[in-house]
Amino acid sequence: MNYHITHRTLYEYAAPVSVSHHVARLEPRDTSTQSSDSFSLQIFPEPALRKARTDYFGNQLCFFAIQEIHSKLEIITSSRVTVQPKTSTQNESTAPWESVAEMFRDPVSPEVIEPYQFVFDSPQVRASQELAAYARESFGKDTPLLVGARELTRRLNKDFKFDPRATTVATPLEEVWQKRRGVCQDFAHLGIACLRSLGLPARYVSGYLRTRPPEGKSRLVGVDASHAWFGIFCPGTGWVDFDPTNNVQPAEEHIIVAYGRDYGDVSPVAGILTGGGAHEVRVSVDVEPLE
């Protein structure tokens, strides 16, 4: 499947900004099932300094600095991405989760050092005994790893209510857990925290999701949004993604931009301004399937 994705972010500041520094992670990644065919990033006003590089997790990022006085900032990306259908995983034939957790206890084999990084607590995701107990309901004795992960995804979807007003990016996971409400980012964090509480490696994935118009209606432009889900490392198979917000195992309709330990590693645009005061942000995302 080919997609053309347009992502616009517009900041309007209450007071003039004299200098701003930003980091943007907006360029879709190349993966075994996805290729980024073209990508452009436009920034207004034109930054005095702009540098692209690869971050610790292999994501493409763009650092830019605006040094002229400005009261708004617009960032527009345009990407063309090819997504291959994923070969469906044989969840039932994966190894029992306990044996996978055992692989990630010290000392670990050098072959799994890369996924090993995702076993540990990260700034926004902390393992706890409470989450471990919740996760164990999906991971009974000898449950195959991906059967457990699929079941956990289903339960997160059922037990937690999607509610954009319940949380912000700053809401700690403990509060999401208590309120039983949140958005895709919170659900991804919850899934990761549950898996890590069992000693399993799990990572945060940010990207886009193709949305389908209701039956008989035409597709609306620009109403899509950034999306987030989680991935779990399965020995022999590699990373396998799950989307608790939509209770699916991503196939051809999820486009991966970046991954990291949690949202903090991959936030699409982060900036520090001198001046600016309060600000408003408007984001529009359009995921257009190309025939």
Partner: protein
Amino acid sequence: MSEAGENKNRRDQPPMIQSQLQSTPEDTSFAKKATPEKLLSGYKGSAGAFDELLAKDGEIFPHYAKLLGELEEFGSAELSRRADACQRFVHEHGITYNVYGDPRGMERPWQLDPIPFVIAPEEWQKLETGLIQRATLLNKILADCYGAQDLIRSRWLSPALVFGQPDFLRPCHGIKMPGDIFLHFYAADLARSPDGRWWVVSDRTQIPTGAGYALANRLVTSRILPEPFRDNHVHRLAGFFLATQNALAQLAPRQADKARVVMLTPGPHNETYFEQAYVARYLGYMLVEGQDLTVRDNHVWLKTLSGLERVDVILRRVDDDFCDPLELRNDSILGVPGLVEAVRAGTVVIANALGSGLVQSPAFMSFLPGLCRHLLNEPLKLPSVATWWCGQKAAREHVLKHLDKLIVKPAFRTQQGLADAGFEDLKQRIEFDPDLFVAQERIELSTAPSWEKNSLAAQPVSLRVFLVTDGQGGYSVMPGGLTRVLPDSGGKFISMQRGGGSSKDTWIPSATPVDEVTLLHSTNQNVELRRTGNNLPSRLADNFFWLGRYSERADATSRLLRSALLRFNPERTGGAKPLLAPLLQTLETQGQLPGISAKPELWSNAEAFEAELLAAIFDPTRHGSLRQTAEQLQRLAMLVRDRTSNDMWRVLSQIDDRLATPPSSKRVMLAGDAVGVLNQTLLGLAAFHGLARENMTRAQAWRFLDMGLRLERTVYLCTLLEATLLSPDAENPSLLEAILEVVDSSITFRSRYNLLPTIPAVFDLVLLDDKNPRSVLFQIKQLVKHFEKLPKERGDAASPGKTVLENCQSRLERADARELASPSAKWSDSALAETVRQTLRVLPQLSNAIAASYFAHSAISRTGRGEVQ
């Protein structure tokens, strides 16, 4: 001389001698005069610990003999006197450390024991070798973790120790450091176990603090014990700081002679702020906060009054994850946005490298012996205290089995403490997430002689030592260190932050006289002559301005209160009221006696009235009291500590001390006592202003201080003059005399007019006479002069502040007191009153204009953390 050499070859343990005073030829002189019995009569080390002074058989180790002999010669009384001098020096130099979460009296005086800790030179040499090896090793580990990560892949290092640690800063991975130096400064805490061996108890690689306190301890101790200091040929500390200067200059991306090194501080509330200011001044570096720096074009710049100036090297006292809110902790307000990218680009070097806190985790200790053999091909020379990291299976099992005998600690910095955890709770937590815990063996600390109740007592000590890179892959060690003393034993380790313990100077004696080292460069070079110092950061200009304002506020408040107290007579309070009214109203308007005019009942109750005045002086909880103003002065003085002289600091701290300890308790304090305190306060302020006027160069700092003073004086003067004209008794000569007294112009008045004061004569002198340094016009003219000398604003011919001032000046210059005072129905409606009011109106505008032009430090804000849905 030969002793030391022999000992080096002969023994591993500190050598012992047969009788106390025969180790070197010089010592014989003491043997004749005194025996050490008296000072040592109560000296007794604890049974299970090594004693630094006495060997097992009760004999004195030779490296202590000379010091002890001289102490004996001084005798208890003299030592007692010197111990008092020690405390006084500490206080006068303002040597302090801060305790978090203690807003009142947050600043604690530093505790210094007058008796130095002495280490035998041959033993010190061995420690040095071991410490240099350890620093080299830790640096190599850092270079690998932030680079190739071979140690992890080849399993010399458990990956969990790196990946699982919050101090592993992923954005800093891959950053190249000049000379592959990540660890520019290193400190270690050492302790000596009962068998006499030294152990490393903790490594400090993130921000190795304490070298400044070691220097301060040396300064004081060498002053109170000059004879033993000289006779022991103690190694000097200056060489270490010289090595620091050289190392940092070499790191600079630009040529060394152009390089600007700054020290980045989290600010005055940081626990070791004193040390930061002290070391920055000693090394000649500017002490800056994050908001003083900005990143433009991927370079770091210092914001000064006259523009941006490039920074090459940052000596960092801010935790690494707080250094850049963009790429590191985004909730940090201490750092500089864009700093990591500038470091990555190589335009600035930060010491220690961002991320160097990684190897500070005690969990690394158990890997060091293996890593040392692997990386350096030699055994680890200086052992760490026995450490088990629970992330490893065998270690975990050992720890769980011996929980009662070990000290369990968090493995990583950002974890919460474990102080109250019970064994069962601890067990469960270790089993759930073993990586997060280490356990260490308890060390019974060795004891050393310390001053206690007029004699010497054995107290437990540990030693913090300091190393700095030589820029070539090696390190130099400070010959000495910071010895810390724990008041009572118990195997627990010492924490300054918890407010425990005292400290000591640390002496490494030498058999021969030592080299004198100076931090000043040799004079052979051609020196470019300079008439200006470094440019003033705008934040400091702001602080100086307010220092000036508060010093004058304290002065004016003291004068008004003093005159009020002197005129206050309980016998006839009602009669005194009209004469006091303008004074009290001025104090009310300016916030020292809020709402006093609305409390007429006070006039008939002499006791309550007096209590009100005394509260305005002494009450620390009362907004605007003199005591609070003095505290503000102290606070501001601390903010500009590295830019003012010790004398200025001392004068201000004496003022604060005096107000904090009134001559008698409030209940029985007499007005006369309070007047005495006010007199002393005014003398102190006069000393402060005198020091400012006579000792500060006429550069920007002085200018802003004086502007603050002039502005504040104008405010109080005009408020008082307006209040006078509003009074129905304005013409009363007694009232006018009080006004002259408050503004310190009585003598001048009497020398000019041989008559009772009248309004035109008084106002001519106090409002319009530009020869009178207490007049309004004098202040305005000074302010205009300052404005002319300030850096010009960009493309702004006449700044708004200057225009306002010049209008005010010409209005006052044109004025004639007799005309203005032409008879009118009421003085409050006169042209004179209008002139005063016009001036008063101008002042807030002026203050705002100064702030807008020179003190603009815009707040930073963040975006882009809420778009995902």
